[in-house]
């Protein structure tokens, strides 16, 4: 099939109004806020070297924080702030999506605006400031009528840099729940959908390039004092903003929001649930690519209405329990504990997606390894890879403790690359997922856990507190409960990991529904 005839381009295009609109909205708001804070600061500190130095140093430090970390940092920060305002003033706000993304990006935009603002104001010929005073201007009049207009081209160059940075970094706001062009990239990476990855990269690059050129036009217009040029650039920016924002404006935000974490199985399941809701006449959208801790808090706060989590994950991360219980018992206890927070555990889907230590079957046989206990004897000569959270999770600590595991080296990897890496011998062992279809595809084996260090991980369907009494929703989801066995989910995941038209989460969800109905 020709590369360009791939139907996933069409699928990607269908998401564009939503992703692009949200991307522009959050970038614009962040830039506006960044400017509103930075410009007065630049003006106030232009003649005060000490505070100016501190300010620029702070802005530079912010700049050294990686964009993803800065965005991630704002989520718990806002959660804390929201709980404080709730306790003190009885009002809370959503710490999810737009607000943390906008604040983090605004902070990110400050350095170039501050630096150029100060440089622009300090670079004005002192004779002109003297002249402003001499013709009878007050300090404020001099600032507004002479200094700011003269500094404008340099300031505009700073705004331009900030705009490009913000547009680029906004692609990283997907994991904290802000829809952006990053949704293509995150989803594409997780489901090995390179069409999406490419589409997301091109779309954000094009947007950044267009904005850069238009702001450049304004900048050169200001520099050359050409009204026409400036107006042309401004009209271009206005048209761009209008064209990207209008299609998503007035779209009702009511309806159910189905959350999904950052891996293929979650994309498929969220698409499946969304389809079920829509099939029963409920309006629903999927919010994918959410971080593991973000998604639970988002459900608690009602920012999303439902999602699938795994019993062992909540057991360890939310209840902070370390003892291991049988599957059914653990789910029952979890259900009671979640009910106290008004979260409904609607039921299990049927399969388990547990962490498991996985290695190539041939290698395991050659070394005589069948269980993790066998592995422990060889660990000191082997290397292990896990996803980004595994090595900081309680399960890893429990494994190390139970078996005395000491590996020669450990690495973190994108989950979908781990299987190929272990099959290719780049690492010896990976912390994989039992429901992953790639285990069979690459002829790998999941090692037994005779000491039960890893808790069970039943896929469970959770509903937000505000949906606790929503019978229509529960009825719509009922057909999914207990109907997805591990073999089916593995095959679904294997399909989703392919790089062709039938591997999109939507297509796999339809296939999965077909299997469930049988």
């Amino acid at each position: 099939m020709s590369f360009l005839a791939d139907p996933r381009w069409g699928e990607a295009l269908a998401h564009l109004p939503d992703y692009l609109g949200n991307h522009v909205r959050v970038s614009l708001a962040a830039l506006a806020l960044g400017l509103a804070v930075s410009l007065p600061l630049a003006i106030l500190t232009r003649n005060r070297p000490a505070p100016r130095g501190i300010l620029l140093a702070l802005a530079s430090i912010v700049q050294t924080v990686p964009g993803l970390a800065l965005l991630a940092l704002f989520y718990p920060l806002l959660l804390l702030a929201a709980s404080v305002t709730l306790a003190w003033f009885g009002v809370s706000f959503s710490a999810f999506g737009f607000l943390p993304a906008m604040l983090a990006l605004a902070l990110y935009s400050m350095l170039p605006v501050l630096r150029n603002g100060i440089a622009g104001l300090n670079g004005i010929d002192p004779a002109l400031i003297e002249a402003a005073k001499g013709v009878g201007m007050t300090a404020r009049q001099s600032l507004v009528m002479v200094e700011l207009p003269l500094a404008l081209p340099v300031m505009m160059a700073g705004v331009r840099t900030a705009a490009v940075w913000v547009i680029g970094t906004a692609t990283l706001s997907t994991p904290i729940g802000q829809t952006s062009l990053g949704n293509y990239i995150f989803a594409g990476l997780q489901t090995q959908n390179w069409v999406f990855v490419l589409f997301g990269c091109f779309a954000s690059a094009l947007l950044a390039l267009a904005v850069d050129q238009l702001l450049g036009l304004i900048e050169s217009g200001l520099r050359q004092r050409s009204r026409a040029r400036t107006a042309f650039g401004a009209a271009g920016i206005a048209a761009l903003v209008a064209a990207t924002l209008v299609p998503t404006m007035g779209r009702s935000s009511s309806g159910y929001v189905v959350g999904a974490k950052t891996f293929a199985e979650q994309y498929v399941l969220s698409a499946l649930m969304r389809d079920r809701l829509q099939a029963t006449g409920l309006s629903a959208t999927a919010r994918s690519g959410l971080g593991s801790s973000v998604i639970f808090e988002a459900l608690k706060a009602g920012d999303i209405d439902l999602y699938v989590d795994y019993s062992g994950t909540l057991w360890a991360n939310q209840l902070h329990r370390t003892e291991i219980k049988p599957r059914a018992e653990l789910v029952a206890e979890l259900k009671t504990a979640l009910a106290k927070e008004n979260i409904t555990l609607l039921g299990e889907l049927g399969f388990e997606n547990a962490y498991a230590l996985v290695m190539p079957k041939k290698k395991a046989e050659a070394l005589g390894i069948r269980t993790i206990a066998d592995l422990a004897a060889h660990a000191s000569t082997l290397s292990i890879a896990g996803d980004y959270e595994f090595f900081s999770r309680p399960e890893w600590a429990a494994l190390q403790k139970a078996y005395g595991l000491q590996f020669r080296a450990q690495r973190q990897m994108q989950p979908d690359f781990m299987y190929a890496a272990v099959a290719g011998g780049e690492v010896d062992v990976i912390a994989g997922y039992t429901s992953d279809g790639l285990i069979a595809k690459y002829d790998l084996v999941a090692l037994d856990d005779p000491r039960h260090a890893i808790p069970p991980y039943d896929a469970i369907l959770l509903l937000a507190p505000k949906r606790a009494g929503d019978e229509r929703l529960k009825t719509a989801l009922q057909p999914l409960l207990g109907k997805i066995d591990i073999a089916t989910m593995r095959e679904a995941n294997l399909r989703a990991s392919g790089n062709d038209a039938n591997s999109s989460p939507e297509a796999v969800a339809k296939w999965l529904w077909g299997k469930i109905k049988q």
Partner: protein, 260 residues
């Protein structure tokens, strides 16, 4: 000479760190007078000029403008009623010629229509073609045209006193001559009091009624050119000799009548 001074300096001093820029200067400038302050760089002549409209504040002594102690007047209001011509124009590069000229009336809150009429009047007064120059930016003007705009701007709010900071120093000799003469006649016609600083004694002699000579912050001498030539100060006499010596050398070098 009229009795009431337009500007009066009494024992005025101003230091910058250890440097005494203006050192115990007393000087009266009479109403309607054209005074030139002559001195080299670092002589304190610019500081002395700027003390009058409080662009620089005095450390000691008293300065009065039209009978009022400048310390008792709001400095912004003071500057709006005193015209000031800056070295090489000091025009705002982002404003048109008309907006530059109209700036002080605008700050004073005069209506736009009145300002527009005034701008046209002033363009005519400084002999610039209204239609050709009104909407241009300063960058599109020649040096001489820029300085004419600078003069027009200084006169816009109908000041009775005009301060000029080496206004014609950066111009070519022909333009400089023409502009000097033109300003001199404006000064008469409008009944202005003008204080001009220059390092060029020839310019001072040709334009001013009286000359004050500054050196190292001190006022060495003041008076009409004729009075100055009776001074006992060697530096003053040297300054006065320079123009004549130049003329003599020019006469020797040029054909008969060429330099007259």
């Amino acid at each position: 000479m009229p009795s009431k001074p337009a500007i009066s300096y009494v024992h005025v001093t101003r230091s910058f760190g250890a440097l005494k820029a203006v050192d115990d200067v007393s000087l009266d400038i009479a109403e309607g007078e054209f005074l030139a302050i002559v001195g080299g760089s670092g002589s304190g002549k610019t500081t002395l000029l700027r003390l009058a409209n409080r662009l620089i504040e005095a450390d000691g002594g008293t300065i009065t403008v039209e009978g009022e102690d400048v310390q008792s007047v709001d400095p912004v209001a003071l500057r709006r009623r005193i015209g000031y011509v800056f070295q090489s124009g000091g025009l705002f590069p982002h404003l048109s010629v008309a907006d530059n000229i109209g700036i002080t009336p605008k700050l004073l809150g005069e209506p736009a229509a009145a300002i527009a009429r005034r701008v046209d009047e002033l363009l005519e007064l400084v002999q610039l073609d209204r239609n050709a120059h009104r909407d241009r930016l300063p960058a599109a003007l020649s040096g001489g045209q820029r300085q004419r705009v600078g003069v027009a701007r200084a006169l816009a709010a109908r000041p009775r006193i005009v301060l000029m900071d080496e206004p014609f120093g950066a111009l070519d000799p022909l333009t400089r001559d023409a502009l000097g003469d033109d300003y001199r006649s404006l000064h008469r016609k409008l009944g202005l009091t003008t204080v001009m600083i220059t390092h060029d004694m020839t310019e001072a002699i040709l334009l001013a009624d009286r000359i004050a000579v500054m050196r190292g912050g001190k006022l060495l001498a003041q008076g009409t050119p004729a009075e100055l030539s009776n001074s006992s100060d060697a530096y003053v006499l040297e300054l006065l000799r320079t123009p004549r010596r130049q003329v003599e050398r020019l006469n020797a070098l040029l054909p008969q009548g060429g330099a007259a």
